[in-house]
Symmetry: D2
Subunit: 461 residues, 4 copies
């Protein structure tokens, strides 16, 4: 569904939909077949002349996707009919060469190596959008570092924070998951090449040489040994995508809550026709958040499927492996959409700092009670301060009045602190503890992460 033309754009980027299109999936498998033929010809496992015709036939446009799909059920996967079709295509040019198609490989070698290529490239796309989101939230953190808003716990206003601190927390979280994704994708960008039972038996003594060159040719790492039945690396990619999506969902949840009619502190960037309804002109639906939250609702289940699939039978299995074909692309697609929407949301977020400050007044000053109590405690001792504030707060609640007003009327408080000091204590900016230091540390870490992903590398990733 997530790859479809109708529902796809709602949940995935166009780039990622291209990467996991049927044509591109085919292209990756054919890329592996072509590289295999070229390497084997170079090494002398197959005749030197066979590589050319095989590579030439590895053009995905030559194959009928629907036909391959319909042939798949009899074989159990799409690589087997593809190899058959490829062999026929080569044979049309060079009968001899056709006999060396797919030499020494099993269908899972082709599918898995193609998946490794998809992981490598898909993670790079998501990484790039994560970098954009990190940058944007870092910018918000810097810009709003001194703009107070209500810190909310249990969906209740608790104490003041700044919007900059909130954004810094997001940036730091995204930087952490970005590093995780980089690592997971790197570890999983490995060749699969083992032949029918994972021994490369049909290549005799040349298995090792062919493997090494094949990995290099595909820009994949060479694993210690084939991993047809040991899918931990793929599972780590899946779980990491699940965490990327969940982290995006956390932020989307917050933004959608801040966009509530009654809160109205921050808004997804406006765009013509976006999130509006003609009959309800006041509404501005958090459509980007909804798309991210949808991904966050779907991802845990998809991750669970991949984890269930780990329990595989012997050398090559039935059920667990095949489930990856469905679940892994969906995780990439959903992650692509979630992160891209998140980056756009962060970049264009409309922040209403006045409303943030105004909302801090919702409790009639009670969010500042702790600040007054602390200041008073330094003079009167903590116990007395606590008792005084408790009484004042209860009074403010009962009478529906502002706490500042109430404490102003309690001589023991107003005289001890003085009116000016009391006014100052009701300034949320004066009660932010280590917020700025936290922001600075988070920004520094985020920058280090961004610097790492900006570094040029020999490899594509």
């Amino acid at each position: 569904m997530t790859a479809s033309d109708l529902f796809g754009p709602l949940f995935a980027t166009n780039e990622m939909r291209s990467l996991f299109s049927e044509r591109a999936t085919l292209a990756r498998m054919l890329k592996v077949e072509a590289a295999l033929a070229e390497v084997e010809a170079a090494v002398g496992v197959i005749p030197r002349g066979a590589a050319g015709p095989i590579a030439a036939a590895c053009n995905p446009d030559r194959y009928d996707i629907a036909e391959l799909g319909l042939a798949a059920p009899a074989s159990g996967n799409v690589a087997i009919p593809l190899v058959k079709a490829l062999t026929a295509e080569v044979a049309r040019r060079d009968k001899e060469a056709a006999r060396f198609v797919h030499w020494g490989a099993t269908s899972q070698d082709i599918i898995d190596s193609a998946t490794s290529l998809a992981i490598r490239d898909g993670a790079a796309l998501i990484g790039r959008d994560l970098d954009r989101a990190i940058k944007a939230f870092a910018a918000l953190a810097r810009r709003y570092r001194k703009k107070p808003m209500a810190g909310r716990t249990w969906l209740q206003q608790a104490l003041p924070i700044t919007f900059g601190l909130k954004a810094a927390r997001y940036a730091a979280m995204l930087a952490r998951v970005r590093a995780q994704l980089h690592e997971a994708a790197n570890n999983a960008s490995v060749l699969q090449f083992g032949g029918a039972a994972g021994t490369l038996a049909s290549l005799g003594s040349k298995g090792s040489t062919v493997s090494k060159k094949l990995a290099a040719s595909l820009d994949l790492d060479l694993p210690d040994l084939p991993w047809h039945g040991e899918r931990d690396r793929v599972a780590v990619v899946a779980t990491t995508l699940g965490i990327v999506i969940g982290a995006s969902g956390k932020i989307a949840r917050d933004v959608s809550l801040m966009m509530q009619t009654e809160v109205a502190e921050a808004f997804e960037p406006a765009a013509p026709g976006k999130g509006g309804t003609s009959t309800m002109p006041h509404k501005r639906n958090p459509v980007a958040c909804a798309q991210i939250l949808t991904a966050a609702t779907l991802a845990p289940g998809l991750v669970a499927s991949v984890l269930s699939g780990l329990v595989q039978e012997h050398e090559r299995a039935l059920g667990g492996w095949q489930a990856e074909w469905i679940a892994l692309p969906q995780l990439f697609l959903l992650a692509s959409g979630a992160v891209a929407q998140l980056a756009e949301t962060a970049k264009g977020l409309e922040v209403d700092t006045e409303r943030m400050r105004a909302n801090l007044e919702f409790t009639n000053g009670l969010v500042m009670a702790e600040a007054v109590q602390m200041a008073l405690g330094e003079k009167l001792g903590r116990m007395e301060a606590h008792d005084l504030l408790e009484t004042a707060s209860k009074k403010a609640v009962t009478e529906g009045r502002h706490l500042r007003e109430v404490v102003g009327e309690i001589p023991h408080i107003s005289e001890t602190l003085g009116e000016k000091k009391l006014d100052a204590l009701f300034d949320p900016l004066a009660y932010l503890g280590s917020a700025e230091e936290f922001i600075d540390r988070a920004l520094k870490s985020a920058e280090q992460t961004l610097a790492k992903s900006a570094k040029p590398k020999g490899k594509k990733r």
Copy 2:
């Protein structure tokens, strides 16, 4: 993925892929729009003349799926751009009529009612294939009711059963889940019609009349009230599909185990090119089982996503509802493939009763030790019988000999029971307890279920 041309045929029936194709999805939404216009015109909510042009424009072939898909992200769903496109299409013929498109409805009304139609029709397809599978397993139960095989617990041979009993258990289970599916789909085949906030406010006093007629026109039930945010009925469909798939997976697991090279008792039906590999002519891969087991690996996660989505915000939500669009079709698709493969497997199952009987010899008669002990107990008392058999069994294991031989050499046993009786006790068919009665009861229940689904009904389901 499961709906795609490349991977779809592996995991879903063509019929179900058609039912959930992008075009058919569009068609269902347009069907709801057309019915709405017709009902509202009949009732006088919109001008009588508006219905014709609207209904005429509700032809799915007039719309560009990719374009609608690309317009969806700004609105958050595909119904909003569809309504826009439909309005434009109507306007091309009749500007006045165009103003009455989608009158009084919210986009979720259209999407949900279309989903109800899909549930109704999708469940009917799966029900039909479940009936086929039940019939086929019932036939196997009848045919093999007296064919002994090893009952296996913990993947170890335990006591003899018959293959008929095994098949009867499958038939009974499938009959139970078939009844569940029927009920779940029936309950969920309900209209959604509530307008922007679920009150049908813009229809004034006519909401009730329109709702009733709309439900009738779509052959859906009329619910007590709109259910935009209360998705329990949809969730029951999802969980039931999860159980249908899991039940199919149980049987597929068994068949794949029986097909093992070393067991070789039953086989998926052969077909040219099915499950074979040219280089390994002895292999007969359980490809249908693999496809079913893949569905069984994926389904629990998809069900979990739908359940997570139940927690929705207020009148219409963000995230939880939208996740259904992705998860529910996949469950239908996977269930369709799993059940169809299961029905085919059951119908054409190749059963090797000789091998079943031969495998019972793997333990050198130990699977019959309990039978001998019981018979001996009647003569000698249970305690003595137990001790004698324990000694004999140990001897058989240690010396690698057949238990029949060993007990024949123990005079106290052979004389008590006699050679003829002893021979008879080693006949697995003589130690099957209530197996036949169980088969009869299961067959009767299965037949009742089949009879129920064969009954003609006014409604489509």
Copy 3:
């Protein structure tokens, strides 16, 4: 964890914790053993005199739970060491009787039948609390049927609804899931009795009679045949509990959103020390909602585990069955806590109807724009009405003024409708469509459900 003394009370009722306590679990297994002995003695399968000593030893207090637990790993389940301990206990009184303990049964028979008892009783407990919640929400629906509040979609104010309608939706949903639970539990309250391989071989021709009487003695239904490997009934119970919890979560999400400092429309019932924090006197944490939402976060995964477990091997399996022991009790425990908290929340919910009405003013009258447009449309034609309202709404937004004021200044509007009519149109109660009818229908259905569960039955459920 959910059963533990430290975390249990947070998430489960004391009753349900008792039902799934280690001692009660043991007691159910012993109850099955006792009933088995009594029935077999009555039927003559075991000596008449054996039943008494066996039944006498089936007292859970005689057994050391920790010792049984430590013995379990070698056998793979707790029934095997329990049978051993029970046999020893019987032998202390009557050596002969000890030989007939557990006669003809396999350990899974005991564990599963005990589980059926737990399902029956656990569902009754949850059903009772669901009834309480349904009643309480029905009362809220009646009481607040004419109290307007903002209908919210996408977390944005959309159109007015009443709190009564919201509560009616909850009552209707809970009534539906209550009926589902009743049905699921009834279907799963079945005996398990099949012996080692599900044939009751060791009972010879008496299997059927013993089964029938054993089911009756335990107040369980008699299934067609043993179901050691076919767990669909248990899975339906698990998924239904998942839906019960998810439905509770939906309501808890709503309540927690209404409790937000900035919304403040409804509150969990207050209790001394509940949800408060001494340093933040203004806070009233939605602690009951949090407990329900925690259950809703955990349940989908537990359901997925049970569904994954459906794929079992042959006659009795390894892994899938055993997972039920952990997942099923947790679902019961979490459901018990969620539903009980929900019932309490519903019963004591503090509703601030003034605040609800005041919040409707958050949009400066824009939530009523559609109502004005509809009225205007009847006089001026819909198109002109739409254009006039669109202009007015935009003006209201831009100038930060109330829509009533703005439309009053547009002569074409104010003259057409008149000031009095205009005032009336801004009354949310005048734009509620079919809300009352919906409430009535929902209440009627809820009452029918309650009536059904109140009916006295022969059986315990």
Copy 4:
């Protein structure tokens, strides 16, 4: 359940059950409270004399677990009643000191830091058992490097492998997940300290100093900023445990398949009373495998719950965070049991190499057809070789004869290769490709992993 006395031992180690016992959980929270008081006293945030009495009261044995549990629901967590009880306990000795209990902290600070300690120590326990399993499988890889067995794909015999290769694949996989776990636990062993809204406001300018010293005192890392609502690190631990369990499940699945009566190639180590049944003396149930597979059935759902919980509201949330309290300990408990059982299974695995070789004969030599074809191809050209072998294989299948016999009768084959060469070609050891090289590489990697975890560190982990 997994922590209980009755079911706990089946699925978790005693050590891990101790680590997550209610008492130990309490002890960790009190450890954080004690350290907090000591650090704050040292820094001068609280009176120097307050630390002693507070630390003295932080003795878990002083508190009534059931009482704390029953008090938790009103507060929503167990830390709040614990702080209350701790304060009362301190007050009994020193009223003044009692006022400084929990100074500046929020209950989540205590619970999360305690969780970090549990993660650190729990991961160390699992890491140690993973090391044991890796060592044991590496030893099997070395010992059986030249012992042939059937490589099985799709549960069908494919080509020969060696048992050493299989074990090497396991060792390599476990080494990879072991490294992942080390990293995940290291990253998550961080302090949580932010106060009510994550700013440490009540500590004024001393928040940073206290944090740093508190982290050091608890042997935890200092994070950039509080992470009350950003749970990615915990999620990575959960997903990694899910992968550890899944990897264990893969091996358990294989072992249970090899233990099948009809395969009988490898067996869990025997122990008195383990996996046996008195009435079926031939059975040897794979009880350790069952326990591992149960964990593997449960883990994906628990991981999904933690991932769903990532979507948290604002500064501190309701539902998502709390779900960790239930899911995370269960993952640790299940992982502990699975890995410990796996290590024991690996250490004591009984391998029947004769049976492995005998089973290779199940196909009447067809598993070696590819080897003959390859050798023949070098002499006759590949095409002719392929055709000859295809004919021979079909003949062998049809006539139920051994392929060696059949090819011996085809002069073109027997003359080309000679009888001696033909005999050699039917030796599975001669057709193992790169198996030994793969083993060597895997062993080297495994050793590097083991060396890393053996390195002494300053920190506990």
